[in-house]
Symmetry: C2
Subunit: 170 residues, 2 copies
DNA sequence: TCCAAGTGGTTGAGCGTTTTACTGTCTCGC
DNA sequence: GCGAGACAGTAAAACGCTCAACCACTTGGA
């Protein structure tokens, strides 16, 4: 235990007073952080695996289809879609290419801006989403909401929105 | 909006009474879920990028080094290490190979079980962890704990542990 | 003692993501 | 108009993860 770098009792300062002393996490904070991180990692993994196994659609693809389905005319500019999916443009470009191969999305040049591309959800894509949605929702429900009290759900939202306000400011 | 598959008002049942009707998320639940998911995705991405940029160590590698540093004699069986890192054996095996190339970890055959391998943290690896730890902790502190009230931190831990109990049962 | 089944770990191929660079288009000041 | 710079999106290569197959060793029973 004396070799534990993240030990809260550690106060060594190798840097010559240049940087501020590290504000280590105490034991309680470490527990909170670990619980938060691990629970999310397990949840993410579980939802993605169940969705992929039962529908053949990964959570990443699902998110793209959802965003398109919610957009006007079921279409969005590539960059707008990337932003809504918290995805890089490159990643989204690759992903849309793969969805195009499945016939679920098609690209279309943007009329207003010759540089732009529109990603359009096809009927087949919408049908695939319709088939996958119940599986996804049931996963979120059973692994998350069914486990939490209404107060915990409210707290979850509150925490999420607080962190989001901090991180999403640009 | 009428095309929104995840709309809470949707009650279509295409399946002939075989499966139970989908328990869709209502608007409040959707907000909570989205806030929770997006905030975690942004936080994860932010922490990983900052850590990688400033120390050259990804969050995945960092986790491996932490687990080894906290273990007795700074060494663990590969499978035990994989479990603690919430990683697959294959993934860990690849990762350890890369850490070995950096000279931060070395493999050693296990004395008690000839099939087993021990991953051992080297002094160089420990030094790398010591250098990275303040950066990581400061990231978690500034992007998470500094944003939350003590009550929110307590709730975060509570939620995390609740979900963990559900998902970690094996 | 020997063999079958189980376990621990690695390997390689395929796939998805990241990074960097690049192409084509738009915008704005001259 | 026209050229410089910004912007939208894509391409290529390197990297990491997943999946399935595999090897080596151990265990337990005949």
């Amino acid at each position: 235990m004396s070799s534990d770098v993240s030990s809260p009792t550690r106060t060594t300062a190798l840097d010559p007073a240049a940087a501020a002393p590290t504000r280590w996490l105490d034991a309680e904070e470490q527990r909170a952080w670990r619980a938060y991180m691990y629970s999310w990692m397990l949840l993410e993994d579980r939802l993605d695996r169940e969705l992929t196994r039962e529908t053949g659609i990964s959570h990443a693809y699902y998110e793209i289809l959802v965003q398109l389905s919610e957009a006007a005319d079921r279409q969005l500019r590539m960059s707008e879609l990337a932003e809504r999916c918290l995805s890089s443009r490159s990643r989204l470009s690759h992903a849309v290419s793969r969805l195009e191969e499945r016939g679920w999305v098609r690209r279309q040049v943007c009329a207003e801006d010759g540089r732009g591309q529109l990603a359009v959800l096809t009927d087949e894509g919408f049908a695939a989403l319709e088939a996958a949605a119940p599986v996804h929702v049931e996963g979120v429900r059973s692994h998350l909401f069914d486990q939490l009290s209404p107060a915990q759900v409210a707290a979850m939202r509150d925490i999420g929105e607080t962190v989001l306000r901090h991180l999403a400011e640009r």
